[in-house]
């Protein structure tokens, strides 16, 4: 990112504020990740390495739990199942990241739920790109600084006591609202969300969210057209 680009991001006050709000919640969760990982017996250096190179919260928590349970293969497999959604995310917003190779190589690592959601919520391509990079870079820094802090503290308490587990879905919903104004998208997305929630108790982590894509099948159902009076 050039200095000019960085300046233009900082000039977008509302974006900085909004990313910061979700960033604080992410920061607290990453502190608890660092603490939980070292408590589970993962060496401090490897905990921080995992945060840096995986950079996908859900799969990191899952992997730590499965490593602690002595099941390393499941840790990789389950983690990758959880992260498979990044492929369709990349397909959907790949053009937002940039056209140069270094932009794609670097930008791909910043592809997380939040950067996709913030990008999708923007009205035009310039702002989409700005939002994507701003969110990705901010959360990358906060996530890893938080992990280091958690490793050092060793015990961060439970972020759920601060209600932070409600912050992520609420923020995501707010970011999705403009997209959900379109009736077709709303129908598909809400159907998909319902499928995901219903299948969560029976399917391994990660699959329910992918199953939500079945909501797109609704588009294949021939729709009853609104009856129009034949003017005679």
């Amino acid at each position: 990112m050039t200095a000019a680009a960085a300046r233009s991001i900082l000039s977008d006050r509302s974006l900085v504020r909004d990313v910061g709000a979700l960033g604080l919640a992410v920061f607290a969760v990453s502190i608890s990740f660092g603490a939980i990982a070292v408590t589970a017996g993962i060496p401090a250096g490897l905990t921080i390495l995992m945060s840096l190179v995986v950079f996908a919260g859900g799969s990191q928590f899952l992997a730590v739990g499965l490593i602690a349970a002595g099941n390393p293969f499941a840790a990789i497999f389950a983690g990758l199942l959880l992260n498979a959604r990044h492929l369709p995310f990349g397909l959907a917003i790949g053009d937002v990241i940039g056209t140069r190779w270094w932009q794609r190589l670097l930008g791909a690592h910043l592809l997380i739920d939040e950067s996709v959601a913030f990008a999708l919520a923007q009205p035009d391509p310039v702002r989409r790109r700005r939002a994507y990079w701003a969110t990705g870079c901010t959360l990358f820094v906060l996530w890893n600084v938080g992990a280091v802090l958690g490793v050092l503290l060793g015990n961060a308490g439970d972020p759920n006591r601060l209600g932070l587990d409600a912050a992520f879905p609420a923020g995501l919903f707010a970011l999705l609202l403009p997209t959900l104004k379109d009736p077709t998208t709303r129908l598909v997305a809400l159907t998909g969300a319902l499928v995901a929630v219903v299948t969560t108790p029976i399917l391994p982590a990660g699959l329910p969210v992918l199953m939500a894509l079945s909501g797109l099948l609704l588009l294949a159902v021939p729709r009853r057209r609104p009856r129009t009076e034949v003017s005679s």
Binding site: L80, A92, A108, L111, G163, A166, A167, P169, A174
Partner: protein
């Protein structure tokens, strides 16, 4: 052993990320599919939000979290600022837990 898990997970995850980004550029997608892609992303995000609201490690998440998210959702719908949405959702869940409601 732990290092191998981390490297495996990191390479696989980055491959998913980069594959989507590069495929978008390399493969000439029909217009109809291109229209579907943002819808697919929105659907995945909606599913993430819904499962994160109602479930925790595959089981029902309790009352406090969905209640917090509901307060945030109503505020978002009434066009409250994003910061307020996030803070109100967290505060509601935290206060309910403080009151003994899980």
């Amino acid at each position: 052993m732990i290092l191998a898990v981390i490297v495996g997970l990191a390479i696989g995850t980055y491959a998913f990320r980069l594959a989507g980004v590069v495929l978008r550029e390399r493969v000439a997608l029909p217009t109809r599919v291109q229209v579907l892609l943002p819808m697919a992303a929105a659907t995945l995000l909606a599913a993430l939000a819904a499962t994160a609201t109602f479930t925790d490690s595959g089981v029902f998440a309790g009352v406090a979290r969905p209640a917090g998210v509901a307060v945030g959702a109503v505020l978002a719908w009434r066009r409250a600022p994003f910061v307020l949405v996030v803070v109100a959702a967290a505060a509601t869940a935290a206060l309910l837990r403080l009151a003994g409601v899980e």
